[in-house]
């Protein structure tokens, strides 16, 4: 996979100060990563509060400062790519600005790229109607709004998805089937990284592509890391992609303390 001898270094960062999901993502990554990737799974520190979700813009906002610091730290540690592990792709452009030579990947963006190679219209299965506005804005900004068939909500909170797997699987399947039959979706994206572990069953029953966003992001991160290494395709630093100058960072006293991630699960 790579023309280099050292392995690709990837971080999967849950942008919340709550690490109970880490092992779930780690299990998936252990199964699915390429052999020459090393993936660190971690969360923000608990300074941001113990939210188990980012369902509200407020929660997004509360983790933002730590996220910026985390991104910069990961880039200093030489990660090739980093996944901001939430389907809102929170602060993706911000993260990309301060990421140095590291490529930053969002699950929403990654999932859509895969869905649109396999179909012309996709739907997103979300937990709460509340999420739709922010996600829709993001999808519009990416340019994919004309390919969006619908959002479908299962009326569940993030923390509920992993509680009763049969219940969740059933709820997601039902919403996905409605998206296909009533909204004319040709593929389905599970619109929360915590909707992990369900895509296969639904895909088999529905017979359309069903995209898991964490897995999609992992694969796009590995691809981006590989391309960066092999062909020098690393982040632009021109115009809107320009990073803060070192002199400013010095003068403003930014990033003085080393950022500490939460516990890391390292998957070699």
């Amino acid at each position: 996979m790579a023309q280099n001898d050292r392995k690709l270094k990837i971080m999967y960062l849950s942008p919340i100060g709550f690490d109970s999901y880490d092992s779930i993502f780690a299990d998936m990554i252990r199964d699915c990563k390429y052999p020459n990737s090393v993936v660190h799974v971690t969360s923000l520190s608990s300074k941001v509060g113990h939210m188990d979700n980012l369902e509200y813009r407020t929660y997004n906002g509360l983790i933002c400062t730590e996220l910026v610091k985390a991104i910069r730290q990961a880039s200093l540690e030489g990660f090739d790519a980093l996944i901001v592990g939430c389907f809102y792709d929170p602060f993706l452009l911000t993260a990309r600005e301060i990421s140095g030579e590291m490529v930053v990947i969002g699950p929403c963006h990654s999932s859509i790229e895969i869905a649109l190679k396999l179909s012309n219209k996709f739907s997103v299965i979300i937990g709460q109607k509340k999420w739709e506005h922010e996600m829709h804005s993001t999808i519009k900004e990416y340019g994919y709004a004309d390919h969006l068939a619908s959002f479908r909500s299962v009326n569940m909170n993030v923390c509920e998805f992993q509680k009763d797997h049969d219940f969740t699987s059933n709820a997601l399947y039902k919403a996905a089937a409605q998206a296909v039959e009533d909204d004319y979706a040709e593929s389905v994206i599970l619109g929360c990284t915590c909707e992990l572990g369900f895509y296969q069953q639904i895909q088999e029953k529905l017979e359309v592509p069903v995209i898991d966003p964490s897995l999609a992001a992992l694969k796009q991160a590995e691809q981006a890391a590989s391309l960066k290494r092999a062909y020098g395709w690393k982040p632009s630093r021109k115009w809107s992609s320009e990073a803060p100058p070192a002199s400013d960072i010095e003068q403003f006293g930014l990033f003085k303390e080393k950022f500490e991630f939460g516990n890391r699960i390292v998957i070699e």
Copy 2:
């Protein structure tokens, strides 16, 4: 102005941990506020770093957590309206989600509303080309992109605008004149709250409306505060405007410490 006996309570918050600009805004507000407004001028605490600008998305990101806390604190203190004092209108929708019954106002949004009552096309005079992408995205999301004639950059940083008033005035005038003559702008918006103190001169010379964003925001904030008091026009809390539930806030341990603003200048 109001049917209530107590005065309208407004906060002008510079979303940076740097309070040297506060007195400049305070002077303008003292001159321009309505008699029945009380305005508190303040900044974030210095925890966010000593940035004197938000020119980079990174700096926006670094202040975000404190901003969210500040918004909530202001709402608890009973402010009727709050101005996020930066032309990026940083995190406006986030701030509005957590603002309780307080209306949150952005200088960019406020300026455009005024410009488009007086003309069909406006230009924005910015300091650096770098700012354009983020501002343009914001203006698109508001819906005003078709009314935007152009951005024109004067190649100055935020901290330079107040250093040599003649130089700045000249640079802004020149860019504004080009916007009118070459880009067919019919009005001009000064695209940084630190471009304060220049609109009148330029307006007189150019003979088109020239909008000062801090002043625009002050006036829209007073208006919003007044309407809230008189007619109950306070923030919606439905759908995408829903606020985090108290139970979550409790459970996640959010907002436990009282947020402390920087020094306040209180203008009665």
Copy 3:
């Protein structure tokens, strides 16, 4: 409210040759205007026909010539701001071209500005499906179409709204509730100036902002008048905002007879 000693001079003009509604608007204005505003409430002369509504484009067209003359006359009389009192905002750009130093305000535009400070999506409650196309075109041109949740029609004509208040209130409430529950509106705008007197009840029951367009327009007119006086923010006369030259007006024999408004109710 103003730094000038003389009062702000505002006209509320019903753009129809039918003055029976004037007293209804006058009552609202008497209750709601700022102390330093003087508001003249009036209609066009009866030359335009005795229409009690502008539901058809034809009726809009029939009042247009008189409206242009009225706008110019009001500007000559020194009004600071004028409200074209119909939710179609008929001929707003035309009126603004010939308004001299007077700011022209539309109820639709005003209402949306208020709604979007309090919510991310609004619906408009109209009388007849027929109205939707013209209003939708207007909202698209303003740039607000992406924030529009829906139109909801109550199947009533303009002249019916003020006949049986309980019936109307009930009909408007029902449509507004459907807009919120089924179309995911976060705020509601009453889409006809004759839907006057109902916003409060509905707002209390629905618990989302409900905007009355006449009141919204009054407040925006007072604001615009005040800003014009204090900061010189008066209409641009560049490019598409250029007014007809005096020489043309002379040569073409335009505006030779003084325009006579209908009866005026003057509210000091």
Copy 4:
């Protein structure tokens, strides 16, 4: 051309109270109309003022009431199609609402339809920059904005086009050539009905289609009239195309006096 024995009845209406251009249009129509068309060339009555152009929205507004009455009168007189003879296509949707079974045609709309059968991008040659905003809005509303290469202004007023033919021809050619070479137009539309008599010379020199708007409108009107007669393709009266009910017209006292056109030139 028609399956009926009586001739198609078309009106070319200059929407101004100034009939000096009528003979110019009449000459063109005499040369170009189909044998089975009868065309009446006329103007509005002088009540609207003696404007020789509609360059300002104000002038558009001043003729609107008479225009509405004229449209209705023409429809009562049994015209099959009517051309509103100005490139602004002023009040086209209004005219279509009250036109009964008569089809209303606009020169701008007609010209674009022809240009886009022959090319993928067109430019419009206008007299004054002032015209652009209104025309651009119209073209956006039609849906053709993505096919518009540019507007190019020759800095002439409407009344000047027919004064010195060589001068005008030269100015139009120069602007058209720039549109093709610099703006990548593939066809050119002369953006004023008074730019009559020049398309052929320019077309020969430029070797791209150059569309004359009066001629385009004549041909589309004849086509529309013919289709109406032969296939019953007459105006819809559903939804936004619904016409005012007769009972309203009666009740409001509209159209009581017979509308009198200016002098007519009848071309059989």
Copy 5:
């Protein structure tokens, strides 16, 4: 109709290698063409396969090479205009590039032009949901998407429309009525050239314009041919409309064999 003595020469080309529909179109054309048109009705040769429809993009693709050759051949034979007789308007821009001085007309484009002179919103009645995506893309590219009320499918295949006329008429009527009543269409377009022979009945019952696409295309082709002859309004060959140079055609060995159409029905 024309200032030339020889008749307008038009081709109606069914872009499939299946000529059983030819006589149906020929019958309509015989009834409806102008006296001075000669129309050749034909299909592609059977090399493309014996498809009786183009419902799939694959079928479109399979006929494309022959279509290009056919277009060029028709242009060499001196046709003034050619109709690509399928509502997908397949490869319209491609056909226009290689058409020399011949104007190429599409039934979809033609129908919309007629519908939008008579109404503000149209619906399209299609056979299968499958067709919608491709047609919608085409309509977006034309610029008409904002005027589209809906697609309505009757769940029939192309080859079924002409089998049981009562059944088809009924199905089309029902869908059209739903488009008008539920989707607020003001006019209806029959979205397949094989929906021929039904517009009149439906139009009479529905009382809105119902457009037959083959007939619409015939009329637009005659109009385009006539304008080309009389005014030199022939295809642009600039920029994106540039045709392949003769030297390339020679060098690449293109179009070496004369293209043979299927049988032709010639209607004088």
Copy 6:
């Protein structure tokens, strides 16, 4: 890279009947493919003519029938992914419809996906202005138009790029530098698969990402093939992605002869 034992099977298909470029692509692929990919490099048969480019829509059209047959044949041969090797991404949706379980990849689409992970705005360096319209339409349909900074043409034909490498490199560099400096591109895409072999030099000098479209497509194809194998993410066959039914193919006599590719270079 894969959890399967057999290698990923990829086809790089030049959609022209001219195989002189094959070895150039083969050389790049040999250097850059992942070890577990097998790539077949080939062209269409010479039936389509000996075009060395697809610069004109006509040439696109001429290869379309063969392309459809080739796609189906490749899918029958068990390829996991296929690249249509031209930056126009010709007939991408068509190819995807008939591709069975094979994923079809376009160089334009692939390049943009990579560029937008590394920057917010990209420019495309094309050979001729002529290409722009078709590519721009494609980019609009993908949804990426708002991220497009500009097209820049070097005024060269496809066949010239590989003739004098220094000349080409220089021309591409100059255009790319203008795109960055004057059009504010943050990354650059080489807009022709024959602009192969230049990205590295330009990237080093310009210090922004420069994307080679063939290489981008190769990598996206390998990724897509891998995801298909591992997670079942294969093409949707619902709604607009539905493939022609076998019964139709049988009945219409399609694909009866086995499609023969040109010579293949097989890279293991």
